[in-house]
């Protein structure tokens, strides 16, 4: 009976330790993303100023739309995640907002760099970063944002995505497939990461239980010795 109670306590302790470590990891990651988004915002503004500062009509120029876009859209994409990281670190809402914002950052940076193929790697890099949350729902959200962007572009202006005006209706799936391909790997990594955390928590709980048991034994032994010393006939 006592063994069953100990096992149950150990399982409970395992759960507590597991969630403590998972939450701590997610809060750490929230803070990393907050800093990353500030860096992305500064980078986007710098990029717009260096690459496309002006829009021209003959010899006259006005500030290029990219500069406004980098400042305003960048602010919109960054401020809510920053606020949520400060007010609700580790919450589901915070990381869902971060996931959507991060994928929209990809879209903005791709646009600001003139659709450079290299900038598209931002999507894949971001997915890898998001995977550290060890939350498959985040990856689904991020993938849906990317797929929706391609689907809508493909529907309304296919040339902007595929370079042709009448692609097959399923063409967006080909692009989404490569994102899903990475998702597959990351989902396995998430699963393994969670299992490692759980194993670690279990080991920690077992160690704590053993330590507690040993301490109890030491206390009992000490009490026994004290009791024996107190009986002069046994000394």
């Amino acid at each position: 009976m006592e063994t069953m109670t100990n096992a149950s306590e150990e399982a409970e302790r395992t759960q507590v330790l597991y969630h403590e470590e998972l939450d701590a990891q997610r809060v750490r990651l929230d803070r990393i993303f907050a800093k990353l988004m500030l860096v992305e915002w500064a980078f986007a503004i710098g990029l717009a100023i260096v690459v496309s500062p002006w829009s021209w009509e003959g010899k006259h120029h006005v500030v290029h739309a990219h500069v406004y876009l980098a400042v305003l859209m960048g602010a919109g994409l960054t401020l809510l995640p920053l606020f949520l990281v400060r007010e609700m670190p580790g919450s589901v809402v915070t990381r869902q907002v971060i996931a959507v914002s991060q994928m929209l950052w990809s879209a903005l940076l791709i646009h600001l760099t003139g659709g450079r193929i290299e900038t598209h790697f931002h999507v894949f890099g971001s997915l890898a970063w998001l995977a550290f949350y060890l939350d498959w729902q985040i990856l689904v959200t991020a993938t849906v944002v990317v797929a929706a962007d391609h689907f809508l572009r493909g529907m309304f202006y296919p040339e902007s995505v595929y370079g042709i005006t009448n692609p097959e209706w399923w063409r967006f799936l080909e692009h989404a497939f490569w994102v899903a391909f990475e998702d597959g790997i990351l989902l396995i990594a998430c699963h393994n990461g969670l299992r490692s955390l759980r194993d670690g928590a279990q080991r920690q709980a077992q160690l704590e239980a053993i330590s507690e048991s040993e301490q109890n034994k030491a206390i009992a032994l000490e009490m026994l010795i004290t009791e024996m010393k107190a009986r002069p006939g046994l000394a």
Binding site: V51, S52, P53, W54, S55, W56, E57, G58, K59, H60, H61, H64, A65, H66, L69, L72, M73, G74, A75, G76, L77, L79, L80, P81, F83, L84, E87, V97, V100, S101, L104, A107, L108, H111, G114, G115, R116, I117, D149, L152, R153, F156, Y157, E159, S160, Y162, G163, I164, T165
Partner: protein
């Protein structure tokens, strides 16, 4: 959470939605908004004083040297010229308003154009030559056959300032390869070559010489 903090969350939330939806929509509209369609020269305008290729195709691209979107057109032109390997003679008309020094048109776009094999870079004073071809926006590309007849006009990027496959580029390849090309006109996205304060090709004063200036640079 206090009322002030809740208001901040809602404010940031609204800004976020505006950025996510509005920003994305703006990018889409901005990227796909072409310049007004131009009435281009159907026949090679001999009056501009530029020699065309008598035995093959001649390509003309109007370029605003400071237009950031044009970098993509220049990159696509480079790919085409490399693929054609000397089959097509190309002329890049780099516009330069009268009031500014030559240095004004010496940008990374112009430098990149000079590096492309088979492209003659011509400084176009006041945009007069581009206007003779009917080109009003940077990136406008025209292809003429050996008889001087227009066979293609438009842009060679899929949308504003973005490199990559485009209908314009594919059409040019088909025409030069002698294949049937269903489309002979595409959208142009570059900056205006003309000064909004003076439609007479980049000058705010009348009386400039808008004649022939075949100034290869």
């Amino acid at each position: 959470m206090t009322r002030a903090r809740r208001a901040l969350v809602y404010g940031a939330g609204l800004l976020w939605i505006a950025a996510a939806v509005g920003g994305t929509a703006f990018i889409f509209v901005y990227e796909s908004q072409p310049a007004a369609a131009a009435q281009v020269a159907r026949v090679w305008p001999d009056a501009v004083g530029l020699a065309r290729n008598q035995s093959g195709f001649s390509l003309v691209m109007a370029v605003h040297p400071k237009c950031s979107c044009t970098r993509a057109s220049v990159a696509e032109l480079n790919k085409l010229m490399l693929a054609w390997g000397g089959q097509v003679h190309a002329i890049a008309l780099v516009t330069k308003p009268f009031e500014v020094t030559d240095l004004w048109s010496e940008t990374d776009v112009t430098a990149r154009l000079r590096e492309i094999p088979g492209v003659a870079v011509v400084r176009d004073l006041g945009g007069a030559k581009a206007a003779a071809f009917g080109a009003h926006n940077s990136g406008q590309t025209l292809l003429y056959d050996s008889a001087g007849q227009l066979v293609f006009e438009g842009g060679i990027t899929a949308f504003r300032g973005h490199e990559g496959p485009s209908i314009g580029g594919e059409t040019l390849k088909q025409i030069v390869a002698g294949q049937p090309a269903p489309q002979r006109h595409t959208k142009v996205f570059g900056c205006s070559l003309e000064d909004k304060f003076c439609p007479l090709h980049g000058t705010s004063h009348e009386g400039h010489d808008h004649g022939n200036h075949d100034e290869r640079v």
